[in-house]
């Protein structure tokens, strides 16, 4: 077996993930390389979910009975855990949503309905980048259509990095908000936060960071980022589906208007008017994803017990190895940075003229799960003049042997369509 420096004890870790024992297509071992789409879930998280439903399922915040108190305590303690995980200055800055997309839409809508100085309106500008996930493009397109604000963006270099050469023209005094991805889900690029934040602060623009592909894979410190909002999603970081997070600076959360209205987010309601609870509740209308938040709490416990530094090191080693081996496959072209520096564990590529759909289909037959298509980042495909890519993405349980299986699989693909 290949020995790389910095690898985790995947043999032990993989035992935590029941699905990794799954056999597919008449007995082939599952090689799950679709982690950028969603991660698998450890037993430790699944047990917490079952325990909730079997022992203390209840609605939260409004009951005096035991189950309600236990559920409320567990739900709010998940908030504490997430706050600690991202080094938030206050637990009240952690808002639970249903996914990262809702988190990003929440920010965009708040800014559209906000008062000065935050209000996005005609005459102001919103800045994103060409490597955003659709979930960080469409909300801003909708906002600019609805308010008349101008949408601008950073382009990409041929190497798959942000082109910041014209940063002073892109981010201007008119810019109200700059929203960008910390780690690209299609290119793997890790973006230079500091340069963007510095310029944004210069002009007084708010900074939104889409950390969906960062939170699962590396230490995330919202204070160090110096952003105003940070969004991520539970299902990519060993948590359940149906839960996302928006972190926002307390004073902004106090100043900005609510988005969804309903139970839980109010202070007092009459037919004529309502007042709202303080954040985070102001932004959590209706019965929250209770089990899912508690599950996410268990997921960050799990990740922390392994250590985010260690996970990052593991993935770095796997990514470097994969880049090396993939670059030796004939006709394979990596879309995104070709070295593991400032790079996450998602590797997109094309294989000669063979369409990614066909690549993925043949790999699947071998038990290898990769993703194919535009990965919800169609502008990146347009930028590089390709219809789609095949993407292999790794996580804490990925092994060098799985990289080897992928490389062998690609040989098989080439023969099949040769």
């Amino acid at each position: 077996m290949t020995q790389l420096p910095g690898l985790l004890d995947t043999e032990a870790i993989r035992k935590d993930f029941p699905i990794l024992d799954r056999l597919v297509h008449d007995g082939k071992k599952l090689v799950y390389l679709d982690n950028a789409a969603t991660s698998q879930k450890p037993r430790q998280v699944l047990d917490v979910l079952s325990d909730y439903y079997e022992r203390y399922n209840s609605n939260v915040h409004r009951g005096v009975h035991v189950l309600a108190e236990e559920a409320t305590a567990a739900y709010e303690s998940a908030r504490d855990k997430v706050a600690e995980f991202i080094n938030a200055p206050s637990r009240n800055e952690v808002i639970f949503t249903k996914n990262a997309s809702e988190s990003l839409n929440l920010v965009a809508n708040m800014l559209g309905f906000a008062d000065e100085p935050y209000r996005v309106e005609r005459g102001t500008e919103v800045v994103i980048t060409e490597m955003e996930h659709h979930s960080n493009i469409v909300p801003w397109q909708l906002l600019s259509q609805r308010t008349g604000a101008k949408l601008k963006w950073f382009g990409l270099t041929d190497e798959g990095r942000l082109d910041l050469s014209n940063i002073d023209e892109v981010i201007t005094e008119q810019t109200k908000v700059v929203s960008f991805v910390l780690v690209s889900n299609i290119l793997g690029t890790v973006n230079p936060v500091e340069a963007i934040v510095r310029r944004a602060q210069e002009v007084g623009a708010l900074v939104v960071v889409d950390a969906s592909q960062a939170a699962p894979h590396m230490p995330l410190d919202v204070q160090a980022l110096q952003a105003d909002f940070v969004a991520f999603t539970g299902h990519k970081m060993c948590g359940p589906t149906g839960i996302g997070v928006l972190w926002g600076r307390q004073e902004l959360l106090e100043d900005l208007p609510p988005f969804l209205g309903g139970g839980e987010m109010i202070e007092t309601v009459s037919m004529h008017s309502s007042t709202y609870a303080p954040a985070p509740h102001k932004f959590e209308a209706g019965t929250p994803p209770i089990a899912q938040a508690i599950g996410l709490g268990a997921a960050v416990d799990y990740l922390s017990s392994i250590g985010m530094e260690n996970i990052a090191a593991h993935e770095h080693a796997i990514t470097a190895y994969a880049l090396e081996r993939l670059s030796a496959v004939p006709d394979l072209r990596i879309v995104g940075p070709v070295t593991a520096e400032d790079r996450g564990a998602a590797i997109s590529f094309t294989l000669g003229d063979i369409h990614p759909h066909d690549v993925g289909q043949v790999l699947d037959e071998l038990g290898i799960a990769v993703r194919v298509g535009h990965h919800c980042a169609r502008p990146v495909c347009l930028r590089y003049g390709i219809p789609a890519t095949t993407r292999a993405s790794f996580y804490l349980y990925s092994t060098p042997a799985e990289v080897d299986a992928l490389v062998e699989g690609l040989e098989h693909v080439r023969n099949f369509f040769g």
């Binding site: 915040h61 409004r62 009951g63 005096v64 309600a68 108190e69 409320t72 305590a73 109010i266 202070e267 007092t268 609870a277």
Partner: protein
């Protein structure tokens, strides 16, 4: 019965016979609600220099929130502001102790009847009830002082 630790006789007495209830003249008035259960209080503070001349209140709520307002009136009226603030802080600390603080003589010296709320601190949903009037008092006092400054 475990409940007795929450519903001490002192608390039930204050609930049934609240002290200082009713709205009287004040320097500042606030209205606080507990959104989770709908408890509400309107509370006024009257200062006389740095002394609390009166705390008057009206509202609806459970035995815990009502008794707590009554105890507050007992404890704070006539006190110096700095002293009252210390009482408030100690009460807050007791209520947030999750039942882990056993009031000693020193604490009882300061909190008097309010030590009876120690049992309530074990019930997270009720802690907010007990704190409602105290938070309102803190708020009203801050407003009264701020108004005096701008006056």
């Amino acid at each position: 019965m475990k409940l007795d630790s929450m519903y001490q006789d002192v608390i039930l007495d204050h609930y049934k016979h609240p002290h200082g209830r009713g709205l009287r003249d004040g320097d500042a008035e606030v209205h606080h609600v507990n959104p989770t259960c709908g408890d509400e209080i309107t509370l006024r503070v009257k200062l006389n220099g740095t002394t609390i001349a009166d705390v008057s209140y009206e509202g609806q709520g459970c035995s815990i929130s009502q008794a707590s307002a009554s105890v507050l009136n007992d404890l704070l009226v006539g006190k110096e502001l700095t002293e009252a603030q210390k009482v408030q802080e100690l009460f807050l600390e007791l209520m947030q102790s999750k039942g882990k603080v056993e009031p000693d003589d020193a604490m009882e010296e300061v909190l008097e009847d309010a030590v009876a709320f120690a049992g309530v601190s074990k019930y997270p949903a009720r802690v907010k009830c007990a704190l409602l009037s105290w938070m309102a008092w803190k708020d009203a006092t801050a407003q009264a002082l701020a108004e005096r400054e701008t006056a």
